[in-house]
Amino acid sequence: MEFVGIAAGKVVSTSAVFLILTMVGLAVARRISTCVLLFSMQSVIITAQVAATAYLENSREAWVVAGLVFAFKVLGIPYAFFWLVERLKSPRDVKASTTPAQSVFVVVVMVFISYAAVRSYAFGIRVPEDALAAAVALILTGAFLMVSRKKALMQMLGLLVLENGIFLAALTTTFGMPLVIEMGVLFDVVVGLLLMGIFTFRIRDTFDHLDVSRLRRLRG
C-alpha cells in the first residue's frame, strides 16, 4: 500500500504537466475529433486526480465523484460529441482564426500568467501550486478556444475545457467538494451540452453552416 500512496501523491503533483500537454495539443489540433479526444484525455487526467485525492483524503464521496466524472466527461460527453460531428456532416476543420504556432504561443503565455497569478495566492494557503495553476490555465485556454475557433462545436468544447478548469480549481482548493454540488455541476454541464447540441442543429438547418463569425450579420 506504501507504493499506492506514493503513486497517488505523484499523480496529484505531475498531472499538471500532462494537463498542460493536452492544452498545447488543443492549441495545435486542426480537427474537431482530435480536440474531442484531447478533451477526453484531459478528463482522464482529472479523474485520476480525483481518485488520488479520494485515496489520500480517504473519502468515499470523492470516489463517487471520480466515477461520475469518468462516466460523463471521459465517456459520455466525448461520445455525444462524436455522434454530433457524425450527424451534423459539417467539415471536420475547427476553423481557427489563428495559426497553430500563434495558438501555441498564446497558450504558453497563458500558462506563464496563471503560474504568476497563482504564486502569491497559493503560498498563503495549503494548496498544491502546480494543480491550481493548471486549473487557471485550463480556464484561460477554454476561453481562448471559444474566442479563436469559429466552429460552433468548438465553442461548446471550449466551454467544457473551461468547466474542467473550474472543477479542478474547486478540487484543489477544497480537497473534494460535497457530492451534491459536484453532481449538480455535472448535470448542469450535461444539460448545457444538450441545449447547445440542439442549437447547433438549428444553426446548421437555418444557415447551412456552423461558422459563428458569419452570425455577425444578424445584428440589428
Binding site: A16, V17, I20, P100, A101
Partner: protein, 313 residues
Amino acid sequence: MTMALGAAQVLILILGAPLARGIIARIKAWFQRRQGASIWRPYAELGKLFQKEDLAPPTSSLIFILAPRVMFAAALAVAAFVPVLQPFALFGSVGDFVLMVYLLALGRFFLALGALDGGGAFGGMGASRDALISTLAEAPLLLALAAVSISARSASITGIVGWTLRQNFFEISAVHILAFAALGMVALAESGRMPVDNPTTHLELTMIHEAMTLEYSGPSLALLEWAGAVKLNIMLALLISLFGPWGMAGSLAPAALGIALGAYLLKMLVLMALLAVIESSMAKLRMYRVPDFLGVAAALSVLAVFFTMIAKR
C-alpha cells in the same frame, strides 16, 4: 578500463546503427502485415555500396567527396558524447551539450554543401529544405537540453545522466516530461523520420534527405546512409540516457555491465516500436506545416526551461 568501455559504447552506437534501422523497418513491415526484409539487410547494403565505384559529377569540387566523410566523422564524434552502459562517455569531459549540438549541425552543414556541389536541381532543393528544418529544430533541441541541464546543475551530458541516475523514478519532474516531449519531436525532425521527412520516398516533391544524397554513389553514399543511421541511433540513445537511464551500470563489474546492456537493448526496442507506430499511423506533414510541428516543440521546450525556475528543487 573505463576508456575501453567508452570506446565500446561508441562502437555499439556506430556498428549497431544499421541494425536499428533494420529492426525499425521490420516492425513497420509487421504493422503493415508484410513479411519484411531481414533485419541484417542494411549491413548487406552498406557492404554492397562500399565495393562499388565512387562517382563524382565532373563539375563538382573537392567538397563533394569531402562532405560524406565530414558528416560521418561528425556523427562519430557526437557518438562519443552519449553514455550508453555507464554514466561515462569518451568525450564526457571534452565538451558540453552545446558542442554536441553544433557537431550535429556541422554534419548537416556539410551534407547541404555536398548536395549543392553535386549540381543537381534536387540537391539544392533538398539542401534548402533541410536548412529550414535544422534551423527550426535547433532552438527546441538546445532549449530542451538546457532545461535538463539546469535541473541537473551540469552542462555535460555525462553529468546530467549521472544526476538523473541518482534520482528516484517517481521524483521525475515536470521539466523532464516537457523536455522529453520536445526532444522526441526534435529527434524525429533531426533524423529525418516520418512526420517531417519520409525516409523511404523518392518522390520529387516530398523528399528532403533523399534529395540531398541523390548524386552520391558507392562508398560516399554508404557513408552518408551510415551516418544518417548513426544519427537516428544517437538521438534514441540520448533520449534513453537523459530521461530513462535507470539500469545503467554503476561499476565496471561484468554482471552490472551485462544488466546495463540488456536494459539498454530493451529500452531501445521500446523506442523503436514507438517510432514504428508513429511512422505507420501518421502521414508526412506538408512542408509548410513543418514549422508548426517544430513550433510546438519549441513551445514545449520553452515551458520546460520555465518550469526549471518554478520547480522546488
